[in-house]
């Protein structure tokens, strides 16, 4: 991280202007904010920005987008390539920073007081060549959901390794099926060929000690024995403890099976916690969460780092107001409100000890452990090639899981493809 002091005076003036605007609204502006909309996001957003609107006299218009991060990315890329000034602020996925960095305003100076209060790893993920591209507004890290009641019923402990998970899932599944539920499965996750599979598979590989596909220094590390073992373990689940259909599941499909009470374990993001405890859920109050298992004793658990950030468009005509809104959204007040209302994980460290959040969402303080094991996807080292790297990786994994070639062959081929893509260096 480099919080340079370049052009400090100039920036300071800009900040002063922003602060002045906050204090005494001179001219009301309408700021356009674009974001993917999941669950109650649209309604909650209006309430979230209300204090900022009142303080500055500006108004915020939210443009909702489809939930799929890939679809959002395609649209944002088109808008930004065309240099549109219609959108002032973009809600960006944690992996986009290197690919879209050129189109966003450097927030290093504007956030020089705010940034150090966040998790350093997240700020780092949004910093490209010393430029702070986006400010984190919430983070995401998946966990293992387990059915407390069923583990107790069959006398199984919460699994620590993937092998224990396989065995526990099988015991519970066989028991429940014998008890008359033929639709019961052991473990559901996200096996569709899409970005989500990259997340799931990165966790298996990393927790088996097989590296993180492309290492931070740009080395391609995926073709190794531990990664092969990780993928073979996962392949063993398909059709045994996991339904064959898991190969077409995204987050919502796996949550569907889980929330209908038809699975003993699930790998999913925090949002499933609040929904799983909703009144219409069959597993309400019956489940717990823990860190994802490891390959063997001594390995460390891995949870793929997700999360969303806010970036200010370089083409915005209201940059000062937009920066002020970005600072507000990434600040403690807005993050606290998000945590309480939407069970979104804050990125400001001190909020994990906040009593109000602990009272409203007891899960959040627990998630700090999950979060400490977060592993980033290789978006930083692979720069503009990340989407293709991810697509090659999830295709290799999906092929392995569906029985097209062995894990060893597919990973060797993946290594060759990645080497070819890298050429004489990632750019």
């Amino acid at each position: 991280m480099s919080f340079g002091y370049r052009a400090k005076a100039m920036r300071a003036t800009a900040i002063a202007a922003v602060l002045a605007a906050v204090g005494a609204p001179v001219m009301a502006e309408e700021i356009t904010y674009v974001s993917g909309a999941v669950g109650k996001a649209v309604e909650n957003f209006a309430a979230l920005v209300k204090p900022w609107e009142e303080a500055t006299g500006n108004t915020v218009k939210m443009v909702p987008m489809p939930a799929s991060t890939t679809d959002q990315f395609a649209q944002y890329r088109l808008w930004l390539s065309a240099g549109t000034s219609d959108i002032d602020l973009y809600q960006t996925d944690v992996i986009w920073a290197p690919q879209l960095a050129d189109h966003f305003v450097d927030l290093t100076e504007a956030a020089k007081d705010l940034a150090p209060t966040h998790f350093p790893s997240i700020i780092e993920s949004q910093t490209v060549n010393g430029k702070l591209v986006a400010l984190p507004i919430f983070t995401d890290a998946p966990a293992l959901y387990y059915r407390k009641d069923l583990l107790d019923k069959y006398g199984v402990a919460v699994p620590k390794t993937w092998d224990e998970l396989t065995a526990a899932a099988k015991t519970v599944m066989d028991g429940e099926r014998a008890a008359g539920n033929p639709d019961f499965w052991g473990f559901v996750w996200q096996g569709n060929a899409y970005e989500g599979l990259t997340c799931d598979a990165l966790e298996w590989v990393k927790s088996f000690g097989g590296g993180q596909i492309v290492e931070p220094d740009g080395t391609i590390s995926i073709n190794n024995e531990k990664a092969v073992k990780a993928l073979e373990t996962a392949k063993g689940w398909v059709g045994t403890i996991s339904p064959e259909g898991v190969l077409s599941y995204q987050e919502e499909e796996s949550r569907g099976v889980w929330q209908a009470g038809n699975a003993a374990f699930m790998r999913n993001w925090p949002y499933a916690y609040g929904l799983g405890n909703g009144d219409d859920s069959k597993v309400k109050g019956l489940f717990g969460v823990t860190t994802l298992p490891v390959g063997a004793e001594g390995d460390t658990s891995a949870a793929t780092l997700g999360g969303w950030n806010v970036a200010v468009s370089k083409y915005s005509k209201h940059q000062e107001a937009a920066i002020s809104l970005a600072l507000y959204l990434a600040g403690p007040e807005a993050q606290k409100q998000r945590a309480i209302n939407e069970s979104n994980l804050p990125t400001i460290i001190s909020l994990y000890d906040d009593p109000d959040i602990a009272a409203a969402q007891p899960i959040i303080p627990q998630w700090k452990d999950v979060f400490l094991n977060a592993v980033p996807r290789p978006s930083a080292p692979t720069l503009s090639h990340y989407n293709e790297v991810s697509s090659l990786f999830w295709s290799a994994v999906h092929d392995t899981l569906s029985g097209n070639g062995s894990a060893a062959d597919n990973l060797a081929k993946l290594e060759a493809d990645l080497t070819d893509l890298k050429g004489d260096g990632w750019k």
Partner: protein
């Protein structure tokens, strides 16, 4: 319009009537031609142009690289020679195979089913109007909506299709339709046929209604078997209409995108030419390479249609029927 210059030598002064009419016709057509140029020819030319550049992140920064996106010889450090580019890309040829397979199978099924439906609808029965309207519903539903709807119906755990098949004892365990490589294409085909057979039926019905009723009467008086009547009378007479319908469907099927994108977006068993070129254009921001794929797609479409018209002697101008 080409006859203008050959028209009569009668007048030396001023343009002939024929010339005047041709000129007037040109001015009436001009706005349409201009609009067509703007929305069809210009984007096509741009795409072809981009396919000769190495444009990535910013489309205007690309350098002209001739045919490198199509064919490129690469010598590795090890001295090994590799052929690259769209023409040597196994992923592209896999997509071509998927698309052609999808198009041929879906168009055959849709034509046969459409014809059967059209024959039924052509018969006189009570409530025919309502049935005709009702059968068009699948066609009227936007593809995205029907694809999402079918995705839930095909869902392995709580999909209605598995439930029905299980209850009928046709399958012994739930099938993960969209997940398995061997059933993914079947799933896409089911949805496409469900959606598009009504459209084919409509086009066939239009052809059927052109057939003069007295021919059937004559056949009935002669005591010809109905099946023979269908093959000897009906089919030859509606052939031109069906042929045009098949071209439309084939063109449509060869560029299929939305259904696959929603139902099985990343399965190598169903990725079509359009899906893969969009992936390169947008997801990987390889504008040059993606444009080369789009251009190849255009060429393949053009070849397909020309072959079909030539082999099938399809009369698109409608002149012989006059």
């Amino acid at each position: 319009m080409t006859t203008a210059s050959t028209s009569g030598p009668a007048r030396a002064m001023g343009p002939s009537l024929q010339q005047q009419r041709a000129r007037a016709a040109f001015w009436f057509l001009a706005p349409m031609l201009f609009a067509l140029f703007l929305v069809a020819a210009w984007p096509l030319m741009r795409t072809i142009w981009f396919s000769f550049t190495d444009a990535t992140g910013n489309i205007y920064d690309g350098k002209f690289v001739w045919f490198q996106n199509y064919v490129r010889v690469q010598t590795l450090d090890s001295g090994k020679t590799m052929y690259r580019g769209v023409f040597f890309d196994p992923k592209w040829w896999n997509a071509v195979y998927n698309t052609v397979r999808f198009s041929v199978v879906s168009v055959i099924f849709e034509t046969v089913l459409g014809l059967v439906i059209a024959l039924v609808l052509n018969a006189e029965f009570k409530g025919r109007g309502i049935v005709r309207a009702a059968i068009l519903i699948p066609w009227a539903i936007p593809t995205i909506v029907s694809a999402k709807m079918w995705a839930w119906m095909l869902n392995d755990q709580y999909g209605i299709l598995n439930d029905i098949l299980l209850n009928l004892h046709l399958i012994s365990e739930k099938i993960a339709w969209t997940a398995r490589d061997d059933t993914a294409m079947i799933a896409v085909l089911i949805v496409d046929i469900w959606k598009t057979a009504p459209f084919m039926a409509l086009l066939c019905l239009a052809g059927l209604q052109m057939v003069p009723r007295d021919i059937y009467e004559a056949a009935r008086i002669d005591g010809v078997h109905p099946i023979k009547v269908f093959f000897k009378v009906t089919l030859p007479l509606i052939r031109p209409a069906v042929a045009v319908a098949v071209i439309f469907r084939m063109l449509d099927a060869l560029r299929i995108f939305d259904l696959v994108y929603v139902l099985t977006p990343n399965s190598t068993a169903t990725k079509t030419m359009s899906v893969i070129s969009r992936e390169n254009l947008i997801d990987f921001s390889k504008f040059g390479y993606g444009s080369a794929e789009s251009t190849t797609l255009f060429a393949i479409l053009a070849i397909f249609v020309s072959l079909y018209i030539w082999l099938g002697r399809v009369d698109l101008t409608g002149e012989t029927s006059r």
